[in-house]
Amino acid sequence: MAILSQEQAQAILQKVLSFSKADECQATLTGRTAGNIRYARNNVSTAGHSDNVSLAVESRYGKRSGVATCNQFDDDTLRRCVQRAEETAKLAPEDPEYMPMLGPQQYLTPNSFAAKTAGDTADARAQAAADSIDLCVARKLTVAGFLENSTSFRALRNSKGLQAYQPETFVDFSVTVRTPDGTGSGYAVADYTDVGKFNAKALTQIAADKAAGSVGAKAMEPGKYTVILEPAALVSDEGLLNRLFYELGAREADEGRSFLSKKGGGNKLGQKLFDERITIYSDPTNLEAPGRVFDDEGQPVKKMTWVEKGVLKNLYYSRFWAQKSKATATAFPSNFIMSGGTQSTADLIKGTAKGILVTRLWYIRDVDPQSLLVTGLTRDGTFYIENGKIKHPVKNFRFNESPVIMLNNIEAIGKPVRLGGNLVPPLKIRDFTFTSLSDAV
């Protein structure tokens, strides 16, 4: 029963609320079914399937709140679950940041579900792995990859009349190809809502070309270089912009402990922080990278501009901080979209006299939250560009750089592509700081 329809989910939630005796009650039902396949050394290694549905009930008496859950759905279990939430609420301390539950809300119509993804099978995943492996075996390369397809839903209902439901599908694929002697490595990554767009062979081809092309890397002196950062270097498991997106909190800025804090107090809202070509927004109904239309509290997620032409336009305000600051509360989005132009990564390379192409970054960690300085390394395809062409592969570098400085050193912005549920363009950046060399391939 992992994936319930809107009617099935709301029927359960309605019954749950009918058992409530508390001042306020909110019930959340979530379910997920997912299948994956993992391969390495040109062989399938592990694969699996999992199913789960769970109910969480939050009950409130005044400013006291309690939560309980269950994953059985007979009347007795549901009734006990509500009672446990109520008992916990009565024992809890009062929350000084209490905000009343929301009433009915208007949501955008979600487009985050694709039936084809929901109907995916173990055989189809095995075939995708086979396509990827066969290509690499034919080219005498070694491949490791991962494919996961998932379908999930979230449904909310509360005693103030709020109702919400959204189904989602997600396809997640990444592949690393290496030369058998370990001297070359390449990578490709992609995600989709609709599995129909997924082509394991085409992505493996990109990774294989990078692997074959990265053999014989030359060492270059660390220092400041013009770089072209592909989207995987910007947003992925390890991306330079991830940290920036999640540092947009008003409260931390107002409290003086964020790169967005103003000397002497307050935050940098309205200030120009980046190059005027930088615009970053969220849009849950974007066709290519759809997101969630409501957050965990049931607040509607709407189109929201964070940075416009380099100027900080909005910050994330929790409902409590918004009330305290006389600002508008912000539902935190599940996607970020960075505006760009029309040039592909290949076009950016053509327009570069001297520079370094970075496929991917790795192990990015904060060094100084004051300047948002982070460190990390290049990985799986780093190349020297001269006169508009890739000249030769280079050894991987460690960098120490702040995304704030980086977005002020923009040379060119490419065409945005979907990654990690976001849309982000490749970026050409000057004076990017590499601080040492790595022997890793």
Binding site: G48, T88, N242, E255, S371, G421
Partner: protein, 551 residues
């Protein structure tokens, strides 16, 4: 954006926009605390396990194991004078792993019943058969005898789940008050408690019932200087441990002083959160005006809380056999410590002072269990002896790949719904044989830096090049601590770094650093691991200055 993008307990930092999203804390269902103490009867679990094993065999599996897991977590989060969140979660379900046609298959369900177990087993066999069509090498398991019906429990004194929430909240708020009284602008504190009730059964004839406990109290203190616009933080010097609530009753014998002039206190098997919170506030304040480091070569004296993370990244990970063989190439990476280096018997990983041991046994450590998640009894083994690489970390389906016939017992899954695989055991630096105190160690350093607490950390995917920060830094000049430093990070190459190891203190200084959220695998899984060491000296390491201006 995916949840795992912003996972990070170690950065329970000032300025964190959200509560940390921790695998194992975010994924479960919230549950009433009173319910956490009831255990499920092993006889019921045995019936469900047999249903899964029989269904797997009937469907054509040559091997099957089943894990029936109940994973309980409680996290209490506070800031300054208030509680932010109390989350008690439970996750209960069944995971079945099979080999059919020489290929692995896995399926998991929250339908905890004999029928649910059998259905998961059939799904797992179906997946194995689908994948066997593209399989070229058959899975080979190292032999493992069945243990019959056995059990194991973390040797705790007091179950943290039995301690009233009000008492735990009061302790965190008292720690916050200590920090605020000593000059903190902000303080976040948290207490994490974990109980894994794991039942394992396999077609080898094992029925293993284990009750595993872990605890982690922590905080982050921030001091903001409005006039200069500067802010500095200091995180707790506690460690996650394989202990009960007794970890939070401080004992004098468990406190270890840092070198004279450093104002650092380390903790062994118990932790004084009030004392550490006060020290943290004073140190964070001092960091605002501390001298910015002059980059260059320094002799580093690293305290165990700090060194544990360096061991984790530069020894623990590169010696995981799945990385060495290429199974993690697409995510966590591969390893510089290749098989040819190991086979030579002469690969000088470190200096003669470097003796590194792996284990799943040390009491109080996060790795300690009776049996791993594929029914192998746990043990201790050498990884590096007098600087020479001698072995790896491996599980049943890897042993034959390096010509061995025994698993090391370090297979683990974070929950019932994830497949178990090779994870890092405890990896520890043995203390020095001769008597050597921290003060004696510092006395011999002419130009150096003493670093306490683990901070920023980053290492490449083959584990050559790393950069580490810390919590507090002190200049050492002519054998003495002369004052605090800021903006310190060191960059090194793993082999050069360990070969620069000059001396390590004796066993009286030995203690654990631990981590709750070591990530690996796809889908990504989290595991918990400890690293023991004593304060250790490394000569001539490259130190950089990390201060930058953003206008």
């Amino acid at each position: 954006m995916k949840r795992r993008d912003f996972v990070g307990l170690t950065s329970l930092a000032a300025g964190a926009l959200f509560l940390p999203s921790i695998p194992g804390f975010g994924m479960g269902n919230a549950v009433d605390p009173a319910q956490l103490l009831e255990q499920v009867d092993p006889a019921i679990k045995k019936r469900m396990a047999d249903a899964a094993l029989n269904a797997a065999k009937s469907a054509g599996a040559s091997y099957a194991d089943v894990r029936i897991g109940r994973y309980l977590n409680q996290g209490i989060f506070t800031r300054e004078k208030q509680v932010q969140n109390i989350a008690s979660t439970e996750s209960y379900g069944i995971g079945v792993r099979v080999i059919a046609n020489g290929t692995w298959g896995f399926a998991a369900t929250n339908d905890v019943s004999e029928a649910g177990a059998a259905k998961a087993a059939q799904t797992a066999v179906g997946i194995a058969k689908a994948n066997s069509k593209v399989q070229k090498e058959q899975v080979q398991l190292a032999p493992q005898k069945g243990f019959g019906e056995v059990s194991w429990k973390t040797p705790i004194v007091q179950n943290a789940f039995e301690v009233p929430i009000a008492q735990k909240v009061a302790l965190l708020l008292a720690a916050n008050a200590k920090a605020l009284d000593n000059g903190a602008s902000f303080v976040n504190s948290a207490l994490f408690q974990v109980n894994e009730q794991k039942y394992f059964a396999s077609t080898d004839g094992s029925y293993i019932d284990q009750d595993v406990h872990r605890i982690y109290p922590t905080f982050g203190v921030t001091v903001v200087d409005r006039a200069s616009g500067k802010f500095r933080s200091r995180q707790a010097l506690s460690s996650p441990m394989g202990l009960g609530y007794e970890y939070l009753t401080p004992k004098a014998a468990d406190k270890v002083a840092g070198p004279a002039g450093s104002d650092v206190t380390g903790y062994k098997m118990s932790y004084d959160i009030l004392e550490d919170a006060a020290a943290a506030a004073k140190q964070a304040k001092a960091k605002i005006t501390a001298k910015s480091v002059v980059p260059g070569k320094y002799d580093l004296v690293l305290d165990p809380h700090h060194l544990g993370l360096t061991i984790h990244e530069s020894v623990g990970h590169p010696l995981e056999l799945d990385r060495v063989l290429g199974y993690e190439a697409n995510y966590a990476g591969t390893s510089f410590a290749t098989l040819d280096k190991w086979k030579s018997g002469k690969f000088q990983y470190g200096s003669k002072e470097v003796n590194i041991v792996a284990d799943k046994l040390q009491p109080g450590s996060l790795g300690a269990v009776g049996y791993d998640d594929e029914g192998v009894k746990t043990k201790e083994w050498d990884l590096i002896k007098q600087g020479i690489l001698v072995n790896y970390e491996k599980i049943r389906d890897q042993a034959q790949m390096v010509g061995q016939n025994e698993s090391d017992g370090c297979c683990y899954s974070q929950s019932w719904q994830d497949v178990q695989f090779q994870r890092m055991p405890n990896v520890s630096l043995r203390p020095g044989q001769g008597k050597l105190s921290v003060d004696e160690l510092v006395k011999g350093v002419d130009k150096g830096i003493y670093i306490a607490g683990n901070g920023s950390f980053s290492i490449d995917q083959q584990r050559y090049n790393f950069q580490f920060g810390g919590q507090v830094f002190y200049a050492i000049e002519k054998g003495k601590i002369t004052g605090m430093l800021e903006d310190v990070a060191y960059q090194a190459n793993t082999q050069e770094f360990w070969n620069s190891c000059a001396a390590t203190c004796d066993a009286s200084d030995y203690r654990f650093a631990g981590f709750f959220n070591d990530g690996k695998g796809q889908p990504a899984q989290s595991s918990a691991v400890s690293h023991g060491s004593a304060t250790t000296r490394f000569n001539g390491v490259n130190v950089i200055n990390t201060a930058r201006k953003i206008g």
